[in-house]
Symmetry: C2
């Protein structure tokens, strides 16, 4: 996929064309109840529509032309749905006509076989030569209620919700406003399809500049231009929340992405780290995407995460508390003033606390007590948001229990504090319509969805309030010698560095356990003289990346005799386990001082660039799945946060009476690693495992670099 251009596409001809050529509409579709013509009519499109079909003659009353060339004006947009092998020719016709925007509906390009990939490249080359921008192929195109234009042959819910949607699948455009048959939930939507030209970044830049869009909603399966996306999202996300559903999360899911869009997806962790860096609001499913987007339209972000719960049902309160924790929200402690205001309403045997189980005062007089209790909670300075759980009765019979007007009135009076509803009962749908009438309160279909939405609001509020990240000055390092070493390795065609990796780390200020390379018994004897016992041996071989798997490590050697025996034994075992491996020598190394075993690593993602990882070291690395992950370059606070995310952080802090490790030393090591991988793009992957973190400083015992 070619994405050399950085010039942003102007999306106006796609979203609000004054005239459009429909290329490839079949004769039968002309009178079909379901076609782009009926969609445009139902959507209220006011522009000029031309139908191009070479197999038909000129049909003046239906604006049908056999060729694009015959159309009496230059249309703003072509919507192309001819068979895939005809698309390059159509693109040439567009170029000849001077058209600058094309939506290619047709499937079977980069999403299918080699011939499809070839056709896609051919089409793109023609378009780029003529200055034509393309949405698609393999797309339904766009729908834009702001200009009443759509390229979809299926009807789209027209809606003016201030949400701009961009997706890699038509599913979202068709509407994922499940169950309730709500309106679409967006005013403008773009299905990127294979995204051969117009990209996710083009679209979010467009939405950033569009005043009718307050929330940007994205469905992505992969992001090709990771660093462009990051830069745009971090800047735009400070103004408008960017809510992203990244599909293809699991391993199995990623396989399907590959077959769906024609390329493998990046790793989950890279996306997570990228989204965190850019302040993107990440969600995990279609329904959550809908709910969170709607929540951003309905509410401002709360000032904090402290939640009061007001409920008709004690059982409902327990269910609500169950979801707060996992969403990262907390139960507010009510102030003495709030308790004092509420206590007169409750029997003396009922302690007033959060959650406020208010059935008794409500059964006495709902219309007097509901607003009184809710207002007391909203006035509490320790409460950032209120969850209201209530029963949805059949109206008007149960008008005495109808709290909907109070919810709306309080939302108007206290707009800074979200009031979030969850309900059960006889007429949930009807009651929900009443509660949501002003667009200031939402009723959530699940408590889990409610809590996640509130947490998303709070998280974005925190991102928006945080200052822009500023990088600190680089740490002193001998970048020149590293460049030389990497250059030498590249010249030799070496892709795996071991002994050289230790030198490179030393050049970047890491403490490395002292070592010598021994190619023969003389070297070994010299190493024994120059280093302090106990020593260890590690095989040096360009053919062996996993030294312990190959039997290429010997630890705890206490004298020259042991050293010699271990050297012979190691060489024999490696030769047996990895037949044919070239053994360049052994690395003789002082046993590292005691400390906690930690693993640091970095790798370069093709989309998002260098990333840094930290986790438990030694034998625990792979089984514990206890990693923290960030994009490089890292600032110190990010390094500290990474360490804090891992379980082994508790060990480092000195659990169970042990001494605390030098966490700031580890922070520095992470920054040095981040700097190393950022400054030297040849490094594809680097592992420090184990790094021993002691009470003062951290010492590298083993490392490898992959170029």
């Amino acid at each position: 996929m070619a994405h050399q251009k950085t010039q942003r596409a102007d999306l106006t001809p796609f979203l609000a064309p004054k005239s459009v050529a429909i290329v490839g509409l079949s004769r039968s579709a002309l009178d079909d109840a379901v076609s782009v013509l009926t969609s445009l009519r139902d959507f209220g499109y006011g522009g000029r529509v031309y139908v191009i079909n070479p197999s038909m003659g000129r049909v003046p009353e239906r604006n049908v032309y056999p060729n694009l060339a015959d159309v009496p004006e230059m249309p703003d947009l072509a919507v192309v749905s001819v068979a895939r092998h005809l698309v390059p020719a159509v693109m040439r016709d567009c170029a000849a006509k001077g058209i600058r925007a094309a939506i290619v509906i047709t499937q079977g390009f980069g999403d299918s076989d080699a011939e499809g990939a070839r056709l896609q490249a051919e089409m793109l080359e023609i378009a780029q030569g003529a200055g034509i921008r393309i949405i698609g192929p393999n797309t339904i195109g766009v729908a834009n209620a702001l200009a009443r234009f759509t390229s979809s042959f299926i009807e789209i819910h027209p809606d003016t919700a201030p949400v701009g949607q961009v997706a890699q699948s038509g599913l979202f455009m068709m509407g994922h406003h499940l169950i309730n048959n709500e309106p679409g939930g967006f005013c403008t939507t773009i299905d990127l399809g294979n995204a051969c030209d117009v990209s996710l970044v083009d679209v979010i830049e467009h939405f950033a500049a569009e005043p009718a869009v307050r929330v940007i909603q994205c469905h992505v399966e992969r992001i090709d231009q990771g660093q462009e996306f990051l830069a745009a999202a971090e800047r735009i996300g400070k103004q408008k929340p960017i809510v992203v559903l990244k599909a293809g999360r699991t391993q199995a899911g990623q396989a399907a992405v590959a077959s769906h869009t024609g390329a493998a997806a990046g790793e989950n962790q890279v996306y997570t780290a990228a989204f965190r860096r850019a302040g993107v609001v990440a969600v995990t499913g279609a329904e959550e995407l809908r709910l969170v987007s709607k929540a951003f339209v309905t509410y401002p972000p709360p000032r904090g995460r402290r939640v009061a719960i007001m409920t008709f049902s004690g059982g409902g309160a327990v269910l609500a508390i169950d979801v707060l924790d996992s969403a990262g929200l907390s139960l507010a402690a009510l102030s003495p003033a709030t308790r004092a205001a509420l206590e007169p309403l409750f029997p003396d045997w009922l302690a007033v606390e959060n959650p406020v189980d208010c059935w008794i005062p409500l059964a006495r007089d709902m219309h007097a007590n509901y607003p009184r209790i809710l207002e007391a909670l909203l006035q509490d300075p320790g409460v950032d948001a209120v969850i209201c759980i209530y029963c949805s009765y059949k109206l008007p019979k149960y008008a005495a229990y109808d709290c909907s007007s109070h919810l709306r009135a309080m939302a108007k009076k206290y707009p800074a504090k979200p009031i979030l509803g969850w309900t059960y009962g006889l007429d949930v749908a009807g009651f929900t319509r009443e509660v949501e009438r002003d667009g200031t309160v939402m009723v959530f279909p699940t408590l889990d969805g409610l809590a996640r939405s509130l947490a998303s609001l709070a998280g974005w509020g925190e991102f928006r309030a945080a200052p822009m990240r500023t990088l600190s000055a680089p740490l002193p390092a001998d970048a020149g010698s590293v460049r030389k070493a990497l250059g030498a390795a590249t010249a030799k065609g070496t892709t795996y560095l071991f002994a050289e990796a230790l030198d490179i780390l030393a050049a970047y200020g890491f403490s490395v356990a002292p070592w010598r390379l021994a190619r023969n018994p003389d070297d070994l004897a010299r190493a024994a003289r120059e280093l302090s016992f106990p020593l260890c041996l590690k095989v040096v071989s360009a053919d062996i990346v996993h030294k312990s798997d190959a039997g290429g490590i010997r630890l705890g050697l206490c004298d020259s005799g042991q050293l010699g025996a271990a050297d012979r034994d190691l060489r024999a075992e490696v030769a047996r386990r990895v037949p044919g491996a070239r053994i360049d020598g052994v690395l003789v190394q002082e046993m590292a001082p005691k400390g906690f075993e930690v693993m640091l690593g970095a790798r370069r993602d093709p989309g998002f660039g260098p990333c840094v990882v930290m986790g438990a070291g030694g034998i625990y690395t792979e089984i514990l799945d206890d990693y923290a992950f960030r994009l490089a370059p890292l600032v110190a606070d990010e390094a500290r946060a990474m360490i804090g995310e891992t379980r082994i952080a508790r060990l480092l802090a000195g659990a169970r009476g042990g001494a605390a490790a030098d966490v700031e030393g580890l922070v520095e090591a992470l920054r040095r690693l981040s700097q190393l991988v950022t400054e030297h793009p040849q490094i594809r992957e680097i592992d420090l495992n184990p790094l021993f973190v002691g009470t003062r400083g951290a010492v590298v015992a083993d490392a490898r670099i992959i170029l």
Copy 2:
């Protein structure tokens, strides 16, 4: 809460009374649009209703009596809603009248203050003396569409779904059929409230015997009679699925349970282990409770977990795959026959694989190709269930794309393979009604809910097919000496055993690293002679449970000189760190042979009895949160499954070229521990940490028992 009785309550008078006395209906409620009288009328109750209110005179035309004694017959049931201090007197009136069943609506008993708890005990004592069974207090009571009876003053959705519901909150009775305004989803429901008498077990036994109930749906906040529940659930659950929402999951949630029902909830892990043992279908939220129950009404359990996906949208397929993994389902591999059947329908550039993205054949001819593709998938012997993702168009305009009749027809033809729907589009609600018309296919509001429901069906199928668990013969053990040791400790008032714990474990066949107790330098010298160096020292003190925190451990002592110095140093440090601790001596112990450090433990839950836990040992125990948990007694397969659940299982199996540990030896150790804790109820808690699991056998290095 008194639960001495094991005699099951007959629920007929509660659920299908021929006559009922409403005690405490206010004068105003007599003519209110919302009261139990209107609910009974609307529900179609055909029995006799008496209203008791001492503040009113006799009102013959409304069947009002000042006293229960005046009622001209003995009612089957009393529904009591007088103020709490009057409830004991009403219970006496019921006893005098000969009434045998009472629903106590009133709040403010065990759910509130000390006076409430006292009143609850008083009421219960009167009832038990007179043979009256009570539902409640603090309840809305019951609703039973089978006999058209309810005690609720709020209208209940009448429904004949074959689901029996029992809850600890009225919320569920009021209906948690969210969003869609579906019918209630149950034919009979009981709100247990404080459950002072009629219990969860009484209700599930009733539902087990009720032919109109096929699925038992439970909301519980705590289960008091854990072992009774287990026995009943395991037996009944083989016939009818028992779906349970356990509320109060998180720590914060548990605090709310305490204030809501008047007692602390058991630990999450104990419930998880208990539910697993009993084959209970556990769900995590109200919406999942509804969906899973409905799924059990709609579908038989599938034969396996292999899923085919048939979709209008490639994007939908990726979303579906994302949820399969985490639910424990897998993507089916299509057979060559299935591929051969499907390939003619697809263009040659599209590879036919699962998920089957079938937009192209459907766009050509939906009504020919939808049933053909779906049937090919259903006929594939490697497919256990099919997820259908489709767009819900507005009918009749889009009748050419309406797949609902095909879904119903295929569900009828292949009843053993669930067809599960997920949809998006213009008329989800209308299309869903069409698809669900026969009750053979469900449309799920989220893919996540779909996958969890299917996994629940599959899990119950596996439980139902598994043979009843049979315990193997106990391993040889010296139970007599352990009884004696525990008896002696109890007699001395000791509650924490350390050296004795090692003896007790040895009596149950555990290998324990050889040790001696040294109270003085002479003992120490003798120990040095009798044991093999290297040795370690551990403080022995009834005041010190966490020895390492107290500085009470010295490792790797290589000769008598080091031993003596370490002994003095240890005593001094312990005295400094834990001032006033009585030091009974030091335990001198051989350093255990190398192996993987594992932690085994057991504790006795007040409700469910003894439970066994296994996890990573040593310093990693508490930080890794890598535990497996089961109820005792354990069978060998359960022990194996426990080990397999932990992350350290990969280390034990010999990760990264290491030797495999003796997993069967660990299985035996788990069985011995299970047997020990089951046979000796005085043991409240026992910890073996670390247990070194080597290549042959496992050796206990440290242990403690709490009585």
